[in-house]
């Protein structure tokens, strides 16, 4: 085999490696960011200086803690620092934040609720209307409370123990 042939063969092998290699690496070792969440971070909440997302059609606003993108998946992340599982209230909050983000153009397709010990992924409905319908009951309750209506209590030992208004609530157990 001549030197030129060997060099050409070597160049072809290197080219194949450079083209195929990253895809192979991503398949074998899925890329995660510093938080261990798959995908590239495309938006973060910087605190007070970061404006929330608004979706006026559905009457909501809010911001997730992070938005990541991996391929066609856009993931809205809600982080809870507690060492406990994911609760229904976390899911409702995360879905509402994802809906609000859609209102500002982020086509969120998945939600992740992450605590110190647990992760829960939720695939979101494709249409905004369907996503809204999954949390409509809570949106309506929140709006009624804001309008000054009397709201029912759902006392529970665990919830009442952690509640910020436990001392002023006559329903607390």
């Amino acid at each position: 085999m001549s030197t030129i042939s060997i060099l050409l063969l070597g160049a072809v092998v290197v080219a194949i490696f450079l083209i195929v290699g990253p895809h192979l690496a991503n398949g074998l070792f899925p890329k995660k960011n510093a938080l261990g969440i798959p995908g590239t971070i495309i938006w973060t909440d910087q605190g007070r200086r970061t404006k929330p997302f608004f979706y006026r059609k559905f009457g909501v606003f809010g911001k997730p803690d992070l938005i990541c993108r991996k391929g066609n998946t856009v993931l809205a992340v809600e982080y809870k620092s507690r060492h406990r599982p994911v609760y229904e209230s976390d899911i409702a909050q995360a879905l509402c934040a994802a809906l609000a983000a859609r209102g500002d153009g982020y086509n969120v397709t998945r939600a992740l609720i992450k605590t110190s010990t647990t992760e829960r992924y939720i695939d979101l409905p494709r249409s905004d209307q369907d996503l809204y319908q999954t949390i409509k009951v809570y949106i309506d309750l929140a709006a009624d409370a804001k309008d000054g209506k009397k709201m029912m209590a759902t006392p529970n030992t665990r919830k009442c123990r952690a509640c910020a208004f436990r001392n002023g609530c006559r329903h607390a157990i």
């Binding site: 510093a34 606003f61 209230s89 909050q93 809204y132 949106i139 436990r166 002023g168």
Partner: protein, 143 residues
């Protein structure tokens, strides 16, 4: 027109995602909140702790350079701080030290990226950095 059927809302009619979460937690909580009920001291303390954890979470998320020690131990860990002090008190004062810092900054993002993808690499890197930290600690004790 009923809520959520195509009408635009003014800001005061909108509800926040956190309030939606609270509605799922306990609707009466929101009534107490909007009526100005006093927040308990323990809840204030828990909120402050939670905010600090959130800040740490966001700091890790936005740290694009992602140093090895920050990745392994966390940005505020005492071992990370010890390595920073070593860099600032010893390495930066000499030409060799500055060259080491330059190489470290150039290589660490790729190294961290590799460590995130492979547990074996992460364990090797962690073992090496742990040994460096132990050496620094024993040297500090001697001094």
């Amino acid at each position: 027109m009923r809520r959520g059927e195509g009408s635009n809302r003014t800001r005061k009619n909108l509800v926040s995602a956190s309030d939606v979460g609270r509605a799922a937690y306990c609707p009466h909580y929101l009534q107490l909140k909007h009526s100005g009920a006093k927040v308990s001291a323990s809840a204030k303390a828990a909120r402050q702790k939670g905010n600090a954890k959130h800040d740490e979470f966001n700091q890790v998320a936005t740290d694009k350079r992602c140093y090895v020690a920050s990745y392994l131990y966390g940005p505020e860990d005492c071992r990370t701080e010890r390595l920073r002090r070593f860099r600032d008190n010893y390495l930066i004062g000499s030409r060799t030290g500055r060259a080491c810092i330059f190489c470290y900054y150039a290589l660490s993002p790729a190294l961290v990226s590799l460590a995130k993808r492979s547990n074996v690499v992460r364990d090797i890197v962690k073992g090496l950095v742990n040994r460096i930290v132990e050496r620094l600690e024993s040297r500090d004790e001697h001094n």
